[in-house]
Amino acid sequence: MIGTPTVVILLLTQSIAAVITVLTVAAIAVRAVRQRLAARSRAAGARAVPLILQALDDVTGDVGAVLDRNGAVGRRLDAAIIALVPKLRGADRELLVDILRRRGTIDAARRGTRSVRPIRRLRSVELLGALGLPENLPDLAPRLKDRNADVRRAAVRAMGRTASADAVPALLDVLDSDTRLVADHSLTLALVRVGPAAVPALTEALTAGGPRARSAAASVLGWLADSQAVAALIAAADSEDSQVAMAAIEALGRMDSAAAAKPLQDRLGRHEPPQVRTAAAHALGRLGHRDSVDLLAELLWEEHDLARTAAMSLNRLGPAGLQVLESHAEVVPEAREALASAYRRTVTAGAR
């Protein structure tokens, strides 16, 4: 005779075993379906690339017909072209972009940037970013202030990839917005990516807009190291806003220009704030002008941060700078540290 509790336990055990079996079978089935779909997708992708290449040499110009005859790979085709475009330049790239244009992919992405679904907006912005076409800037710029953070970041990257001067004002405008919509470094990287085309707009931005945008403009001009910006950076180094002044000083240190040395040397004076003197000392080291040696040597007697920066800069000024460091090494610990660093560098270079 089996008691009621035993029956309940048996039923429960059997039910749990049945549920586990069903879940296991379902998991195996889902995995198999996923693997099959992935294999089909890979196969379609593998068929798509030769078709794309064939279309590149389609002398009749009827690219659409070549691709339409192969509708089965159509969905993979766009993805394959979008993956290929950023790797190429020149006529082949233009042809690939033209294929996307004819297929309506670009227009669909432009519409997609205004979708109510964040994921669609994100994918559309990423697609337009991969193409890097300045003509898409009017659709990308509003997405810099999208309510979704991923879309905003993608829009920043996409605008940088256009390498168009027209992207600069919108990117700087985001820097000056009240709320921090995108991290500053993402915006400055995008501005650097715009490249030489950004120089006139960035130079203009040094005297307009808020301090964050002006600082970023100065930093980016330094990274681009375009000598056309030297005069504007010299003026910005005198800015009342210390962040703007420091960014301009640092940028001048990156310029390969003799004109940058004198204004930097002027900023080493005792009447200047310590952080400005430190920034100027660092920039002079980066600039590498030998006539800065005596001025930097005087800074070895100043407080630690300034003396350390001056010593490291002297380290970069060749034999004359090293001679100063050696003559101060016994009494100035910062000079000893810089000499040790120079020695380590020589040993490492020798080992290579």
Partner: protein, 127 residues
């Protein structure tokens, strides 16, 4: 017909270069890393090597240095095809023994023109 060995770990780039070079009349071999490229050079007669810098197992720079240390391959034209675009990178690539340095993103048609020019200089038959 000159044989070009294309070495890159990106299958898209290999496909495009293979297509462009083949359409221009070259025989094309493809490998995906420096080690495989060195092995292929032992087996096949190659007239020009077109190689990426950053690859798994063995990068293009290391492979180039290895080739230049082997007198059998000392004169083999080697083109670096890489995303490393800094001036110092170009200097390093050329110092390692590369004959030409092409920065990605690249124009496949320009690569073909450079290949033809390099082979013409070395007296190779162009297709």
């Amino acid at each position: 017909m000159p044989t070009i060995l294309v070495v890159d770990d990106d299958p898209d780039i290999c496909s495009v270069l293979e297509f462009r070079l083949t359409s221009s009349g070259y025989d094309v071999l493809v490998e995906n890393d420096g080690e495989a490229a060195l092995a292929a050079l032992e087996q096949e007669s190659v007239d020009l090597l077109l190689m990426d810098w950053m690859m798994p197992r063995m990068g293009g720079l290391e492979a180039c240095l290895t080739l230049r240390a082997d007198e059998r391959f000392a004169a083999l034209p080697v083109f670096m095809l890489t995303a490393k675009a800094q001036e110092a990178d170009v200097q390093r690539g050329l110092a390692a023994g590369a004959n030409d340095y092409i920065v990605k993103p690249f124009s496949p048609r320009e690569v073909v023109a450079r290949v033809a020019s390099a082979l013409a200089r070395t007296g190779q038959l162009t297709p």
